[in-house]
C-alpha cells in the first residue's frame, strides 16, 4: 500500500520573477531572475543540484521543446533536465517530478522550474495548440477558453437554480478580491484595486463572462529547490521547514465530454484530485484545516465552482460563501488568491503552479508584510486546471509546516 508523499520532501528554496508583459526579457532573462533568487534562498551552490525538471506549455514560442535551451542558459553541470508539459498543470508537474526524484532516494537535491514567455506572438492571444488529437482540430468548434469556461456558468445557473444576476454578483466579488490582493503585491502583473461597479460595468466577452472575469497573458518564471526534511534541517537549522503534504493529478476520462452523467457545473478531475490529496495529507475537514489557497482562477466562474469541487463550500453554496467574504484576505474564512491569482499576479502557463507554491511557501514562513500576510497559516493548497471543463487536467498540491 502506497503511503504517499506526505512529509517526505521539503522545500529548501524558491524564486519567482515579476510577472507581466516583459518586453524587456527573453526566456533566458526570466530563468536567470528566478534561479538566482531560488538558489540564494536555498543556501546551496549550483553544483549541489543533481537533477532538474522543467515545465512549459507553448512550443511555438517560448523555449521550444526539451530542456536544452534552459540548460544552455543556466549551465547546470551536465545533469538531467526533463521537460514536462501538461497544460496549466505543467509547473506543478515539474515540481512533482523533482519531489518524486527526492522521495525515491534517487537524488538528495532537485530543482523544479517553470517558464513561459508568451508576449512574442504578435497578437493578444495564444497560438492554437492541438490537444485533443487532429480529428478534433478538424471538426471541433473554433472555441476559446473563455467560451468554454463560460458554459460552466450557464450549467451552474440551471443546476442550482441560481439566477444569472446573482452569479454575476459573485463573479464580480471574485474579481474585486483578486484586484484588492494583487494591488499589494510588488511582483504582480496588474497592481490596481478596482471598484465593484467598474467590474460589473464591463462588457461580456463570452456570455456571461465579462472582461474582468478573464485572466490575461503574462511572461514569467518560478522555481523551487527540494530536498529531504533531514537535509533541510541541516542546511537551515534555525528556520521552520515547509514540507510537501500531498501531490495529486487527475485527467479527464472522456466521461465529461462524451458520456451522459456529468452535470456541467463542476469539474470532475478537481473533485477526484482533491479527495486523494486530502487523504494523502491527512486532512479530514478542508474548510477548517486548509489555511489558504491559490486556485486556478483562469476565469471567475472557475474559481467559483472550484470552491465546491475542493469541498471548501457545499455544493450550490459557493455563491453565498463568496458574497459573505469567506475567501477574502481578512474575511475570517479561507483566504483565496492571496497574491492576486492568475487574474492579477498573471499567468505564464508553465510557471503558474510554481508561482502558487512560491506564495504558499512564503506565507507559511511568515515572510510577507503585515498587510498581505495570512496569520497562523499551517496548510496551503494550490490548484491548477488545464484544458477545458469537458476535457482537462487538474493538479493539486498541499504544503505545510513540518510539525
Amino acid at each position: 500500500m502506497a503511503e504517499g508523499i506526505r512529509d517526505k520532501v521539503a522545500i529548501l528554496g524558491m524564486g519567482c520573477t515579476r510577472f507581466g508583459e516583459r518586453w524587456d526579457a527573453d526566456p533566458s532573462d526570466l530563468l536567470v531572475e528566478a534561479f538566482t533568487e531560488c538558489l540564494e534562498d536555498a543556501g546551496i551552490e549550483k553544483k549541489d543540484i543533481q537533477a532538474a525538471w522543467l515545465g512549459s506549455h507553448i512550443d511555438e514560442i517560448n523555449i521550444g521543446k526539451g530542456g536544452t535551451y534552459v540548460n544552455a542558459v543556466l549551465h547546470l553541470p551536465l545533469i538531467p533536465v526533463t521537460r514536462v508539459e501538461n497544460f496549466c498543470a505543467s509547473g506543478t508537474e515539474s515540481f512533482r517530478g523533482a519531489c518524486y526524484g527526492v522521495a525515491s532516494g534517487a537524488y538528495d537535491i532537485a530543482l523544479a522550474m517553470g517558464v513561459e514567455k508568451l508576449k512574442d506572438t504578435g497578437y493578444g492571444g495564444l497560438p492554437d495548440s492541438p490537444a485533443f488529437g487532429q480529428l478534433m482540430v478538424m471538426i471541433g468548434p473554433n472555441a476559446t477558453a473563455p467560451g468554454m469556461f463560460a458554459q460552466l456558468a450557464t450549467a451552474y445557473s440551471a443546476k442550482y437554480n441560481v439566477p444569472m444576476e446573482r452569479i454575476k454578483e459573485a463573479l464580480t466579488h471574485i474579481s474585486w478580491k483578486s484586484h484588492q490582493n494583487g494591488a499589494k503585491n510588488p511582483r504582480a502583473h496588474l497592481r490596481k484595486a478596482i471598484p465593484k461597479e467598474a467590474i460589473a460595468g464591463a462588457p461580456i466577452v463570452a456570455y456571461p463572462l465579462g472582461l474582468f472575469d478573464c485572466c490575461g497573458v503574462s511572461d514569467g518564471s518560478a522555481m523551487a529547490i527540494v530536498t529531504t526534511p533531514e537535509i533541510a534541517k541541516k542546511i537551515k537549522p534555525n528556520q521552520d521547514i515547509v514540507t510537501v503534504k500531498a501531490l495529486q493529478v487527475a485527467v479527464s476520462s472522456g466521461e465529461e465530454a462524451m458520456y451522459d452523467t456529468w452535470d456541467g457545473a463542476r469539474i470532475l478531475t478537481t473533485r477526484a484530485a482533491a479527495r486523494r490529496a486530502y487523504e494523502e495529507a491527512g486532512v479530514k475537514n478542508p474548510r477548517e484545516e486548509i489555511s489558504m489557497m491559490e486556485v486556478h482562477d483562469c476565469f471567475s466562474i472557475t474559481e467559483l465552482v472550484t470552491m465546491e469541487d475542493l469541498g471548501i463550500s457545499p455544493d450550490g453554496g459557493a455563491v453565498d460563501d463568496v458574497l459573505n467574504g469567506f475567501f477574502d484576505l481578512d474575511g475570517g474564512g479561507v483566504p483565496c488568491q492571496v497574491d492576486g491569482g492568475l487574474k492579477c499576479f498573471g499567468h505564464p502557463i508553465g510557471a503558474s503552479g510554481l508561482r502558487m507554491l512560491y506564495e504558499m511557501y512564503n506565507q507559511l514562513l511568515q515572510r510577507w508584510p503585515e498587510d498581505r500576510l495570512v496569520k497562523n497559516a499551517r496548510l496551503g493548497l494550490t490548484h491548477n486546471l488545464g484544458g477545458v471543463p469537458t476535457n482537462n487536467v487538474c493538479s493539486i498540491a498541499i504544503v505545510g509546516l513540518l510539525e
Binding site: G124, G125, P195, I199, G201, C214, K343, C344
Partner: protein, 109 residues
C-alpha cells in the same frame, strides 16, 4: 431604487486582459420618462485566448435624480429605477441600437 456611480467619461478602466472606456453618457426619452444610458467601448488586447474589441451599451435605469450626491471616493452618484420589464427592455434596446449601429450588447443589470 438603485444607485448609479458615475464612471468618468473617457477614462480607461483596465483589467489584465484589456480595458474599457465610457465614450458617452446619454439620456433617452422613453414613454415620457428619461432613461440613463452609457455608450462604452471595450478592447480585449491580451486575453489568454483571443483578442477583439466591441461596443456595448449599459442602461443603469430610469433617472430619478441626476448626480444628486457623491460617494465616499468622491464619485458622482445618481438615483435610478432599474428597467426590469421584458417589453420595455426590448423596446429601449431597439431604440438604442438604432441610435448606435453595431452596438449589439445592451445590458440592463
Amino acid at each position: 431604487m438603485a444607485e448609479y456611480v458615475h464612471v468618468p467619461v473617457g477614462e480607461e478602466i483596465r483589467s489584465i486582459a484589456g480595458y474599457y472606456r465610457v465614450l458617452e453618457e446619454g439620456v433617452l426619452e422613453y414613454r415620457r420618462r428619461e432613461v440613463l444610458y452609457l455608450v462604452k467601448m471595450a478592447v480585449v488586447e491580451t486575453s489568454c485566448c483571443g483578442e477583439g474589441g466591441l461596443g456595448f451599451i449599459s442602461v443603469p435605469g430610469y433617472l430619478v435624480s441626476y448626480r444628486s450626491g457623491r460617494n465616499a471616493e468622491g464619485a458622482w452618484v445618481s438615483q435610478v429605477e432599474r428597467v426590469t420589464g421584458e417589453d420595455e427592455q426590448r423596446e429601449i434596446a431597439e431604440m438604442l441600437k438604432w441610435r448606435h449601429p453595431h452596438f449589439h450588447q445592451v445590458d440592463f443589470s
